[in-house]
């Protein structure tokens, strides 16, 4: 009986994770497309310069300057916001799993998942 219940919570968690991943990818694609249109409209006729590495400016790396640039109506920061949403998707998946294992009282996997989350967030 308890095995059966465990299986249902697992399946529910799988459904939620599946939906979350799909939503994250679709939302980020939509933002990237919107930003891409503005970018091509503004810079489409210029020459690309990707053969030399310059590194991205601060507004493409930090959330604060990124949002200020978006408010200026720039396209590239909007694309970057979409990429942030994309990167956040698998991280959010981990957060959801934490709640799932908490509900299941699966302490071993709760610990494993917390360590994975810590490893990922440590680098941002």
């Amino acid at each position: 009986m308890s095995l059966l219940r465990k299986k249902t919570t697992d399946t529910d968690l799988e459904k939620v994770i599946g939906q979350l991943l799909r939503f994250g990818v679709l939302l980020s694609s939509a933002i990237v497309i919107a930003g891409g249109m503005i970018y091509l409209w503004r810079h489409g006729r210029e020459q690309p310069q990707f053969h030399v590495f310059k590194g991205e400016p601060e507004k493409m790396r930090m959330p604060g300057p990124l949002f200020r640039a978006i408010l200026n109506g720039e396209g590239r920061p909007i694309i970057q916001l979409g990429l942030f949403v994309l990167i956040a998707t698998p991280i959010l998946r981990i957060v959801f799993s934490i709640f799932g294992y908490l509900l299941e009282k699966d302490w071993l996997y709760l610990l494993i998942t917390l360590v994975v989350l810590a490893v990922i967030l440590w680098n941002f």
């Binding site: 697992d10 399946t11 968690l13 799988e14 459904k15 994770i17 599946g18 939906q19 991943l21 799909r22 994250g24 990818v25 980020s28 694609s29 990237v32 497309i33 930003g35 891409g36 970018y39 091509l40 810079h43 489409g44 006729r45 210029e46 020459q47 690309p48 990707f50 053969h51 030399v52 590495f53 310059k54 590194g55 991205e56 400016p57 493409m60 790396r61 590239r76 920061p77 694309i79 970057q80 990429l83 994309l86 990167i87 998707t89 698998p90 991280i91 998946r93 981990i94 799993s97 071993l108 996997y109 494993i112 998942t113 360590v115 994975v116 490893v119 990922i120 440590w122 680098n123 941002f124």
Partner: protein, 278 residues
Amino acid sequence: MTILVFTLALFVGALAAGLLGSLTGLGGGVVLIPLLTLVFKVDIHYAIGTSLVSVIATSSGAAAAYVREGITNIRLGMFLELATTIGAICGAWLSALVSTSFIAVLFGVILILSAAISFFKLADPVSTGQGSPLSRWLKLNSSYPTPEGEKPYLVKNVIGGFFMMNIAGIISGLLGIGSGALKVIAMDNVMRIPFKVSTTTSNFMIGVTAAASVGVYLSRGYIDPGLSMPVMLGVLLGAFLGSRILTTAKTSSLKILFALVILVLAIEMMYNGLTHKI
């Protein structure tokens, strides 16, 4: 060439890479970096950042479908993500210490390995017995849906698989690829998991593994929106179309053709690395 033409060309190239990668099961990400550096002459740092972002997009998109079908072993994925994320961060830090020529040569080696592995015969999965004490403690033994109903399987050699995953994570962080081929060897040949479970679980882990190293690449300014936009959208669309055709089209000759393309790209990457053109 203007940015508009360049962007459209990148989109078409990425679409082809995603489509072929999905049809052949070799993954589109593996040809993205040679495509960007050799064909479009993009700096390899930008190419790695762009590839990493695209890898997150395709793996999350595909995982959404697999997870709902109940094939993915989520516990196994979570446990092995410990190994891949730690490896990925080490790999991302290593990438700043080694020369771009070294990265190019290593990339060529991994490309050849990935193509070769897909032609190997995989070990048979194990379904009888008790499994190792460690796999029971970690609740890794599971079952998966087949046309004949749920089929149970056991997970062998957990520690060996964990170490292989660690290496797969380092390669992923260093080269900006999903290193799905290495993950599949770790799960099929070392841990003896059924192929369908290992491919979907590997794909499930790729997004998290890439998310671990992407922070390092982002803060170094390797992720450019102008490059990532067409590449990510192209690969995603290509992979989606590929997953739709997969059931009907015959893919064995296509797989050989794609493996040959990979071989040529690998040799060119290694040549460019050795002559310090990259």
